[in-house]
């Protein structure tokens, strides 16, 4: 019983025993030490004069960014179209590649739980832990700058996302429906087509649209590493210190992201 005897002889209740309290106290101590140490290591090379200067720099940046040079918008339609294409085609490719991976990874549908399932899970983890910008960096190095590198980068990142959410949905399907289909003498393919797919279809549509929305957001910046789209113009303008153009591009990115979010919210509300 976590109780303590007060000096007056009274017995007082406590939430935790003494060892538990000590353990928690040391846990907090270690946590604080870790943060302080991290702060010091991280800032070892920081030049503080630049940091003190930051508010002035921010003000300077704002002055230079205003007024926006709207004429640059004429050159942005094509990159925006490319951005949309990278996100959409990339999502489509990601869906095509991700769905089989999900079926291999789900315990309920995998043909071999000992060999194929771990491989599929590894594919999902590898795809998920690497950001699409890093995939784009890699692909631009390999196949040259351009929209294609962006599409494949988006697709490679989407495999893991779609694969993970879809395989979780597949594992949560109602076994009774599948059993009923099996009892009619259905083959493995028919079991998937009539037992599993109708159950996951709404989830699948929702996941795809959600990923498309995220991909629009990500494809706006893929150009920073050379993979086409509006990021490419943004990078050029930032390098030329053409801040009035950067303002217009920020506005364009903001609008694109807002529209894609609105579309995805509407579609998901209609499906579910």
């Amino acid at each position: 019983m976590p109780i303590q005897t007060l000096p007056t002889g009274q017995v007082a209740w406590q939430r935790r025993t003494m060892p538990a309290r000590l353990a928690r106290w040391f846990g907090w101590l270690l946590g604080v030490l870790l943060v302080v140490q991290s702060w010091q290591v991280m800032n070892a090379d920081t030049i503080w004069e630049f940091v003190y200067d930051a508010p002035a720099q921010a003000g300077d940046l704002l002055v230079r960014m205003w007024p926006p040079r709207w004429s640059v918008l004429d050159q942005l339609w094509r990159p925006l179209w490319d951005t949309l294409n990278m996100a959409t085609l990339g999502t489509a490719l990601g869906v095509v590649l991700g769905v089989p991976v999900a079926f291999l990874a789900a315990r309920t549908t995998t043909p071999s739980a000992t060999i194929l399932r771990p491989i599929a899970l590894l594919v999902i983890v590898a795809s998920r832990s690497i950001n699409s910008l890093i995939w784009a960096l890699l692909l631009v190095t390999v196949m040259g700058p351009g929209v294609l590198a962006g599409i494949i980068a988006i697709a490679l990142r989407s495999i893991g996302f779609i694969g993970k959410l879809l395989y979780e949905a597949l594992e949560e399907t109602d076994a009774n429906q599948v059993e009923a289909i099996t009892a009619t003498g259905a083959s493995a393919a028919q079991r998937i087509a009539f037992g599993f797919i109708p159950q996951i279809m709404p989830t699948f549509a929702g996941i795809s649209v959600y990923r498309w929305d995220i991909n629009i957001r990500e494809s706006t910046v893929l150009g920073l590493v050379g993979a086409g789209g509006i990021g490419l113009q943004l990078n050029a303008s930032v390098s030329r210190l053409a801040w009035p153009e950067v303002t217009v591009m920020f506005a364009a990115i903001l609008c694109t992201v807002a529209v894609s979010e609105w579309v995805s919210a509407r579609v998901r509300a209609a499906i579910i």
Binding site: L34, V35, M42, A126, S129, N131, G146, P198, V221, L224
Partner: protein, 266 residues
């Protein structure tokens, strides 16, 4: 039943309205044709790249940890320290913002201000915010840390505010009826309802911050991303493969342990 054709059963389609379905299919086909038609691909360059691509895949077979180990370890330490500091700072700052952004707890002006902060932090990708902060704070991990902190505040505050708006009002009323002041209501009625999920989300955010810290180095905000970028520029695929394997490894460890922590909290 002469003349009546045998009607086959078909599974019901996802979109019930036949005309809408047709329109969506036609629109999708048209878009696909347009998109593929305007796609500019330099196939000669791609074919040339396949050799290099193969060299990169082969590099995963023998990742080169040693020849650039100094730079890799420096980048990793920067990334990890940035992750820890920005998560702690961001979570601490997200508490007041999240409280202010819950409509049932905050007055309207505070609510609007806090929602504004959340919207500002969430509407741009991290890397764009990083560009601005690098301009302001100079190159290095401090700019990256500020970026990640800013992004963490938006993420955590939004989810915290949503949780706070969903709390059980009966408990708040009960504590208030016992004569509690505002701080006591927060501590005894509100906090126990949202804390487990908040801690779980913080751990999850730690995960995300590490992944992002690997990226924002590309624009000069410190961390492993800069090292990775350099290795690609030098075509040192062995080093790139080593860095990517390290990132995957750390993310897997982080994801696995955050899964355990979140399971224990529930």
């Amino acid at each position: 039943m002469s003349g009546a054709a045998i009607r086959r059963w078909r599974p019901p389609p996802l979109i019930a309205n036949a005309w809408l379905r047709l329109a969506i299919y036609c629109g999708a086909a048209l878009y696909l044709a347009l998109a593929l038609g305007t796609l500019e691909v330099n196939w000669a360059r791609v074919a040339e790249g396949l050799v290099r691509g193969w060299a990169f895949v082969a590099a995963f077979g023998e990742p080169d940890f040693t020849s650039r180990w100094g730079e890799i370890s420096e980048g990793m330490v920067e990334s990890l320290t940035m992750t820890v500091v920005s998560t702690v700072l961001g979570v601490a700052l997200s508490l007041p913002v999240g409280l202010g952004a819950a409509r049932n707890l905050a007055p309207l002006p505070v609510y609007l201000a806090c929602r504004g902060i959340i919207a500002a932090s969430r509407s741009f990708p991290e890397i764009i915010i990083a560009i601005l902060f690098v301009k302001m704070f100079g190159f290095g991990p401090l700019a990256g840390m500020v970026t990640l902190t800013f992004a963490t505040v938006g993420f955590m505050a939004k989810l915290l505010a949503e949780d706070l708006e969903d709390i059980d009002e009966a408990q708040v009323e009960a504590v208030r009826a016992a004569g509690a002041n505002w701080a006591q209501v927060m501590v005894f009625a509100v906090q126990p309802q949202v804390l487990p999920r908040f801690i779980g989300l913080s751990v999850y955010r730690l995960d995300i911050n590490f992944r992002e810290s690997a990226v924002i180095g590309i624009v000069g905000a410190g961390g492993i991303g800069a090292t990775l970028n350099t290795s690609f520029d030098r075509y040192e695929f062995g080093t790139s493969a080593a860095i990517l394997l390290l990132i995957i490894g750390i993310v897997m460890i982080a994801e696995y342990s955050s899964g355990i922590i979140r399971k224990r909290l529930q």
